[in-house]
Subunit: 228 residues, 2 copies
C-alpha cells in the first residue's frame, strides 16, 4: 500500500493525540464504556509492533468492584512504602498527589507479556531479551493514544509489588505484568502533564536531549536533573 | 482543556497510523529528511508519558556514513550468531529476511534511557524500577506513529550486543540503549506486517488474548504458539 503522508486533518489527529494525551489519575466518570469502544482500544493495542511478530500481550479486563478493591489494597500498601522513601517535605507533597483511579475508573486493564510465546528462539529477541516487554509497552501506548481520540482517559499505575498483583490475578510465573491501566471517560484534561501543573517537575528542553553522531563528552551532566 | 472525543477525521488519523504502521527494514529512499520534520518526530517522542515525569530519554542522531557502517558491522556479527540459533530450515528462512535498514535509511536514531535522571527516588518507579525503560519505549512508539503520518518509515533494530553499541556511541554506563531506529522516506508499505506477508508468523486472534477479571485456569495453553 502507498506510504504517503496523511492529509492535514488525519495528521493533525495523530499529533493532537500525542500532545494532549494525559496520565489520568482521579478524574474518571463512572459511566461504563461501550463494548465496541473497548474493542477498538484493544484492537489498537493488538496492532502494536512486536519483536519477531510474537504478540506477547494479554489483556485482563477488571470491572468487578471487589476485584478492583483488592487491587487497590495492594496499591495503598505499596504507596505508603513509597511515600516513606522521600524526604519530609517531598514526602508531604507526594502524599498530596492522587496517583491512581483504580476504583474511580469503571474499567481496569492489566496488560501482560508472555515471556515464552513464540518458542525458544524468537527473531529479534536473540540478543536483547527484554524486547518482548518493550513490544508490550508499545501496545499500551497505542491503546492510550486511541483512547485519547475517543475521549477516554487512561492512567498507568506502577506502584505495587508485582508478585502480589500476579498472585491476585492468577498470572502464571512465565508471564510478566507490564502495565496496570485505569480506563474511563473524562470531562477535562490538564493542559500540561499533571506533575508539571502541580509543581513536581518541569518538561526538559528538547534541545538538551538531542545529540549528534554519539554521546558527547560531558553529556551526562547536561541532561541530569536530580531532585535530591 | 476539554477531553472530548476527536472529530471523525482526526480520530481516523489516529487509528490509521496505528493500523498501517510497519516495521520498515529495507525499503528506505535515500532522500534526506527535512530538519523541521525530524524535529516534529522528536517532539512527538518527547511528549511520551514518563514515570514521575522523569523524561529519561536522549536521542542520538546518526547520519554520517562511516558511523552507520560501524553500527552495521555490529549488527552483521550479531545477526550471524542469531541465524545459528535457529534450526536448519528456520535458519535458512531467517537468513532470507532482510532485518535492518541501517545503511539504506538516511537517518538512524539511537534512543536511550538515563537510569539516574530525576535523582535517587522517582515517583512511580519505587516498586517497578523498569518503568523508566518503559517510558522510553512509549517515546519510540510516539515517534513511530508520527512518522507514519508524515509518510516516513521506521525500523527498530534489536540485533546487536548492547555493550558493543554503547562503546561505539560513547554511551555512559548509567544510560541504557532502548531502541536503535532506522528512519527515512518510503514509497510503499506492506499491507500486513512483513513477517506475516513472508509466512514467518500470523497475527493471533485477539479474542484469545482477552481475559475477564483474572488469568483463567488453563489460560497458558490457549495463548502459547511455540514454533519449535
Amino acid at each position: 500500500m502507498p506510504a504517503a503522508a496523511f492529509g492535514a486533518d488525519e495528521r493533525a489527529g495523530v499529533y493532537r493525540a500525542i500532545e494532549t494525551r494525559r496520565d489520568v489519575r482521579n478524574e474518571f466518570l463512572p459511566d461504563a464504556l461501550p463494548a465496541a469502544l473497548v474493542r477498538r482500544l484493544l484492537e489498537a493495542a493488538h496492532h502494536a509492533p512486536s519483536v519477531g511478530f510474537m504478540q506477547p500481550w494479554n489483556f485482563i479486563l477488571l470491572r468487578e468492584r471487589e476485584r478492583r478493591e483488592a487491587v487497590h489494597r495492594l496499591f495503598s500498601h505499596a504507596n505508603d512504602e513509597a511515600a516513606a522513601m522521600f524526604g519530609d517535605e517531598r514526602g508531604r507533597a507526594y502524599r498530596a498527589l492522587k496517583l491512581e483511579g483504580i476504583l474511580a475508573a469503571p474499567l481496569n486493564i492489566c496488560v501482560t507479556c508472555d515471556r515464552t510465546r513464540g518458542g525458544r528462539v524468537v527473531l529479534g529477541k536473540t540478543h536483547n531479551p527484554e524486547m518482548d516487554l518493550y513490544s508490550t509497552v508499545c501496545a499500551v501506548q497505542n491503546l492510550w493514544l486511541a483512547a485519547r481520540a475517543e475521549g477516554v482517559g487512561v492512567g498507568w499505575v506502577s506502584i505495587y509489588h508485582a508478585d502480589e498483583l500476579k498472585a491476585l490475578l492468577n498470572v502464571p510465573d512465565h508471564v510478566a505484568i507490564v502495565a496496570y491501566l485505569c480506563v474511563g471517560y473524562v470531562d477535562q484534561l490538564y493542559a500540561r502533564p499533571e506533575l508539571a501543573e502541580k509543581g513536581w517537575r518541569e518538561r526538559l528542553p528538547l534541545d538538551e536531549l538531542i545529540f549528534e553522531e554519539g554521546w558527547p563528552e560531558g553529556g551526562r551532566e547536561t541532561a541530569v536533573t536530580p531532585d535530591e
